[in-house]
Symmetry: C2
DNA sequence: GTCTATACCGTGATAGAC
DNA sequence: GTCTATCACGGTATAGAC
């Protein structure tokens, strides 16, 4: 990327791109992917539809860019924390406080069967989470804080699954305490 | 509905409707909801687009009909079984063998944030599952087969969440043993 | 109940001027 | 980089024959 060589040359274009991306994320979360038109994104971003297409040649590209942005956030969140399971629980708890975020997540999930980009995003995300969490479970088993009879990989899968599944239930009824259910499951895995 | 008064009068129309519905379900599972056109459904069902519109005036109506059909199947499956948790695990295991079914499920879930019909369907589905499963957990606690310190409702939520969450992971990688993860979680809840 | 034909409008996408 | 103009397609709708 030449952006670092001469930042000013692309600064304006980059700023535009970022602004569009923020609008797109807002639209996807608010209206859903399929109910969001390029014209609406363009309107909210203050340029014409063709102007928008200069930055993102296809709607799919907008979708992809949103995915990539989220991936950066995820990776940073996970790597910044030594405590993968704690950060999973905290992330779930935090998600409930950010309007539209869980909606967006569900929208992205709904695209998985039909978009290779969406699949790629989630595969990477899950691989990372699974390996970090199962490693932590193994460590817990060595420390005697986690039941020694658990298969670390299955346990990690189950923990992540609870987090995802509870987002669905929360979306249907915001009274559902999604983080509590994840913590509950994690405590079941604790040494007896 | 007058269908019961004189069945023959509507038998042909009903058969057509059912055939269309089967095609629509196939299309949604294969192509996704948003990639399925009314014209394509009509083509596969062997009638014209206008003919299709006679039975289902809007695409949303097709979607709704698919939901209702699934709801019937679900209700029958759950009520036919005394063993709600066992039937949950069996359902998850069976889902992996029916092509497109998990895809369809994800597609429907993806519509939740934007379709009242989809929300209504899932709310009813989860309420039923949660109450049946939590009741069974309470019974297990009385029988001494389930840990007495568990909150039955939270445990039921977590079990359902694992089932849903594992479908996501399975969609990304069919090697994931989704039913095993549900069983694993259920065994964590067993009396120690 | 089903067809053909036709039309309206919103959508994603392209071409080419500035 | 942004625009106008234009396109083809899809969801929806209607009229009218059979």
């Amino acid at each position: 990327m030449t952006a670092q060589i001469n930042r000013n040359r692309y600064a304006k274009g980059e700023a535009r791109r970022e602004a569009i991306l923020a609008v797109a994320l807002e639209c996807f979360a608010e209206l859903g992917y399929r109910n969001t038109s390029m014209r609406e994104v363009a309107r909210r971003a203050g340029l014409s539809q063709a102007g928008l297409l200069h930055h993102f040649p296809a709607k799919e590209d907008l979708f992809l860019a949103v995915l990539r942005e989220r991936q950066q956030i995820d990776t940073r969140d996970y790597h910044g924390e030594a405590d993968a399971i704690g950060s999973l629980i905290r992330a779930v708890r935090r998600n409930a406080t950010i309007p539209g975020l869980v909606r967006l997540y569900m929208t992205l999930l709904g695209e998985v069967p039909y978009s290779d980009d969406a699949r790629e995003y989630f595969v990477g995300r899950y691989d990372l989470a699974r390996s970090l969490i199962s490693r932590e479970i193994e460590q817990g088993q060595r420390d005697g804080t986690v039941r020694p009879d658990l298969d670390p990989r299955t346990a990690a899968q189950a923990l992540i699954a609870v987090a995802d599944g509870m987002q669905v239930q929360w979306l249907l009824d915001e009274d559902q305490q999604m983080a509590d259910a994840v913590e509950f499951t994690w405590q079941l895995m604790a040494h007896q």
